[in-house]
């Protein structure tokens, strides 16, 4: 079976972004970009399924500008077999990405799509669920354990009160949570090998998908700042302040 893994190029998770003075967005000039951390976990999971003899091919897909090729190469260095870049300079929103992925699912006929649960730039947490809806497939979001056998998946999900386990027939969409696995580091030989793996480029028009944004961003501002606090010398002073100044205990 084939597994498709969508990988998004995002601002690295260690970067604290700055809002542009004109309120038009965040400043992305010269900022370090990386693969969305949840997508690394997704690639790792797919590659493990291949290593276990359950999957036959792992295809990484990234939608966005030409620079997403880097993200695809990273996915291939972890172990994806090939990459597809859906190239566009249009700002992509989750519904548009889901439609692009749906078109590629029609073409590639995977049995499983493993997405990240959330892109750490837009913090949308939507694309996997939307793809499942468009494809009419089952979904298991926020997965912390995935077992595939006999055309079925059994997935443990992290929910607010604890954990739940769902079982469903493939094809399906799974989205990853942080504790699903610990992605491996790409070794130098694998990075070199990844450079030779096939990488195809298509355009949204080739897939017949209208990617025009549905939401318009009117402005982007900094969040309210907290005013600087005070140092307390010891527990007695802390308790006194909490009781008499903040009045919260």
């Amino acid at each position: 079976m084939k597994i498709l893994v969508p990988v998004k190029r995002v601002v690295d998770y260690n970067v604290k972004v700055r809002v542009k003075a004109d309120g038009s967005g965040v400043d992305l000039a010269n900022v370090k970009m990386s693969m969305n951390p949840f997508d690394e976990i997704a690639v790792e999971e797919a590659v493990r399924l291949k290593e276990a003899g359950i999957a036959t091919e792992v295809i990484a897909i990234s939608c966005g500008p030409a620079a997403c090729q880097e993200t695809l190469r990273t996915a291939m260095a972890i172990g994806a077999d090939r990459g597809i870049l859906v190239e566009t300079d249009v700002e992509l929103q989750p519904l548009a990405v889901a439609k692009l992925l749906k078109a590629l699912c029609d073409k590639e006929q995977p049995q499983l799509v493993v997405c990240g649960k959330q892109a750490i730039d837009d913090d949308a947490n939507q694309t996997g669920q939307m793809l499942a809806a468009l494809a009419g497939w089952p979904q298991a979001t926020f997965a912390s354990k995935v077992v595939v056998a006999d055309g079925k998946a059994t997935v443990t999900r992290e929910i607010d009160g604890g954990l739940e386990t769902l079982q469903f027939a493939l094809p399906a969409v799974v989205t990853t949570d942080l504790r699903l696995n610990e992605p491996r580091y790409a070794t130098l030989p694998n990075i070199m090998k990844a450079k030779k793996k096939p990488l195809d480029t298509v355009k949204p028009e080739d897939l017949g998908v209208d990617v025009a944004p549905r939401l318009k961003t009117l402005k982007v501002v900094e969040p309210a700042k907290r005013s600087a606090g005070v140092k307390v010398a010891d527990v007695a002073e802390l308790v006194n302040k909490l009781k008499n100044e903040a009045k919260v205990i």
Binding site: D123, L166, G229
Partner: protein
């Protein structure tokens, strides 16, 4: 024309997040209908009818809604979407799982985790782990929205809205719930607690976490939370995690103990009213958001704090 709020509940009672979501709906303005889908969920529906601002409660009671799967609930919401201006659910794992599926079936965008309503089509939401706030406008015919519950004060009870039965949609029979392992606790729910005692890697072990923080939480009537590092290290279960990718909380008092204050952690707690940090590293970033900073060893100061609360 009306707003549809999808209730999150456990058949008996509404999850507190539902009350905040109704509050967000009230900000938008218009008739508010609350959908309670479940199996044997009459009690939850009766509670929904008491919420201020609700004009009608719709109950879909059928065996195939017991597990609340996204597949079955999305089909039900879709069948009842006509005439809705907005469809809202809390931005909890329940709402995040469900609403994107609904939005895609309606071919509209979904707007995640709104923190403010500017007008019927314009909303504010955090991006980049809350390091920026975006104001977004939707031109879609129906706005499908998840609500950050900490940004809207829960509506009160005291209403008596009519309750109407709704026909169930067909069972999609796509997924089977095999089981749930829910964390049992006598403590308040993390999302609704007034005081949260949260521990990080600095506690060193699960044993220390429980030994030091539980007595303190007991004295304060507080919920317990944790950083991702504490969860990863196995000190506590996953549903304790506060942060960008865990729970977002905004209690009256948040005590961060042995937590460094990574961007991803701050994203989940920096809207708390009062923040206390106990950390032995004076340069820990948590101190940049703390109202009261105690630079000290937690193994000494946490027991002292517990003692002095009498």
């Amino acid at each position: 024309m009306s707003i549809l709020v999808i209730a999150e509940h456990d058949q008996q009672t509404l999850k507190a997040a539902t009350l905040n979501t109704v509050a967000a709906a009230a900000r938008i303005g218009g008739d508010i209908h609350v959908l309670v889908a479940g199996a044997g969920c009459a009690a939850a529906a009766a509670q929904a009818a008491t919420l201020q601002g609700v004009s009608k409660v719709l109950v879909a009671d059928a065996a195939h809604y017991a597990a609340q799967t996204a597949e079955n609930l999305a089909a039900l919401v879709l069948a009842n979407a006509a005439g809705r201006t907005h469809i809202l659910a809390p931005a909890t794992t329940f709402g995040k799982n469900l609403l994107p599926r609904v939005a895609a079936l309606l071919d509209v965008a979904q707007i995640s985790e709104i923190t403010a309503v500017e007008s019927a089509d314009t909303f504010v939401r955090p991006i980049y782990a809350g390091n920026a706030m975006a104001t977004v406008q939707s031109a879609d015919p129906v706005k499908v929205i998840t609500v950050r519950t900490t940004a809207f004060d829960a509506v009160a009870a005291g209403n008596n809205a009519p309750v109407e039965a709704l026909a169930a949609a067909a069972d999609t029979a796509t997924t089977q719930l095999q089981g749930r392992e829910l964390t049992k606790s006598e403590r308040p729910e993390l999302g609704a607690a007034k005081i949260i005692v949260s521990g990080g890697r600095g506690l060193g072990s699960g044993e220390n976490y429980h030994k030091l923080l539980e007595p303190l939480a007991d004295k304060l009537g507080a919920a317990l939370g944790a950083s991702r590092a504490a969860v990863d290290a196995g000190f506590v279960p996953n549903d304790y995690q506060v942060g960008q990718t865990g729970k977002v909380v905004a209690p009256q008092l948040y005590l961060a103990i042995g937590i460094s204050g990574a961007i991803q952690h701050l994203a989940g707690m920096k809207d708390s009213k009062v923040i206390v940090a106990i950390n032995k590293d004076p340069d820990a970033p948590i101190f940049q958001v703390a109202d009261y900073a105690l630079v000290a060893d937690l193994f000494e100061t946490v027991p002292q704090l517990e003692q002095s609360l009498g």
